[in-house]
């Protein structure tokens, strides 16, 4: 659950961008970083290799504003996508309030997407989190590429979205779908705080 400070009336949510290597997770954060005014975001922290591949995580804190009287902040994280960094992915996933699974729409990356999606479920399960209980949004990135190279969103939905969670086509490099993805996930995460707990 998001962290709530009743004294200072603040909410902090941890949102994690997950997906295979080079699918566009860091690009999502870079776009958000570039669009949001400086006074509403912190420094973007990137722990990357010399060739700019994410080694540990990228981190971008955002101040959303006041919602129902609570100053609401998002902490956006990415995980390293490469298969051999699984231990690091598990660490970053710890305590996530919501996950964006960024799939690479290129047909040739289908198996990588599948492997990463299964890896997400395994890592959550290892932490005692049922993926069905966690706010999840799918983003089908790189939809700007030529049609003969990519799978269309309905085809990707057929392959990955058997739970019927919200999904968005995207071109994270130019920003298409980035805002919509973040908006959908934040709505799902915050709605957990707007639910009246069952009476004792």
């Amino acid at each position: 659950m998001p962290l709530v400070n009743f004294t200072t009336r603040e909410i902090t949510c941890k949102l994690v961008y997950y997906g295979p290597g080079r699918c566009g997770k860091t690009t999502n954060l870079l776009y958000v970083h570039g669009r949001v005014p400086e006074d509403r975001r912190g420094t973007m922290v990137s722990l990357a290799t010399q060739s700019d591949r994410t080694l540990f995580f990228d981190f971008l804190p955002l101040e959303l504003g006041v919602i129902s009287g609570f100053t609401t902040r998002f902490q956006l994280y990415t995980v390293p996508g490469q298969v051999y960094y699984n231990a690091t992915r598990r660490l970053v996933l710890q305590g996530a309030d919501g996950v964006v699974f960024v799939a690479d729409s290129q047909a040739r990356r289908f198996d990588d997407n599948l492997e990463s999606f299964q890896n997400l479920q395994e890592n959550l399960l290892e932490q005692g989190v049922d993926i069905r209980q966690l706010p999840l949004v799918l983003q089908y990135n790189k939809q700007d590429l030529p049609a003969d190279l990519i799978l269309a969103p309905p085809d990707l939905d057929d392959a990955f979205n058997f739970r019927g969670v919200p999904s968005h086509p995207a071109d994270a490099l130019h920003g298409a779908g980035v805002f919509e993805t973040l908006k959908t996930l934040s709505g799902l995460v915050l709605s957990r705080l707007a639910t009246r707990p069952p009476a004792a």
């Binding site: 540990f56 981190f59 660490l91 707007a194 004792a200």
Partner: protein
């Protein structure tokens, strides 16, 4: 000092007075800030917490790989400041502390008083409150307006 819950404040104040630490951050093992002293900007605190939690998480994993018991603390010693990172158990789960200290104190004092802080917090923690409704049921309009403003739409 800012803290998530009032019961954290007294033990933390005592630690700050005794250890003469410059900056102190208490966080959950997932990197969520519980209390802080000395940081001036909320968003920078979050970056420090994310990095501190990352260091401790990788230290734990490294110990696993080496087949040793988890390392409870890590020290980075610079020429003018040092950083002490340590984990400790509370009734609210595993928490982490990040302490930045200068030449006015020493690593030994920071470690000593941090151990006291950890045990004071474990004792002071009240039972966790049951979940309650935080946001209004129609919060989505406010959320959408905030996001639109944030993205300049």
């Amino acid at each position: 000092m800012r803290s998530l819950e009032p019961w954290v404040e007294a033990p933390l104040s005592e630690f700050l007075a005794e250890s003469a630490a410059r900056l102190t951050l208490l966080m959950t093992s997932a990197g969520q800030v519980v209390a802080q002293h000395g940081f001036t900007r909320a968003l920078d605190v979050m970056a420090a917490a994310a990095l501190g939690a990352g260091i401790m998480a990788s230290t734990f994993e490294l110990a696993k790989v080496m087949g040793t018991r988890p390392l409870g603390s890590v020290v980075h010693q610079g020429s003018t400041v040092g950083v002490y990172l340590a984990s400790f158990e509370t009734p609210r789960g595993r928490w982490l502390g990040l302490v930045v200290f200068g030449r006015e104190t020493s690593l030994g004092l920071v470690q000593l008083f941090f151990e006291t802080l950890a045990s004071d917090l474990a004792r002071a923690a009240p039972a966790e409150e049951p979940p309650r409704q935080v946001l209004a049921e129609n919060f989505e309009a406010e959320l959408n307006n905030s996001l639109r403003a944030l993205f300049g739409r």
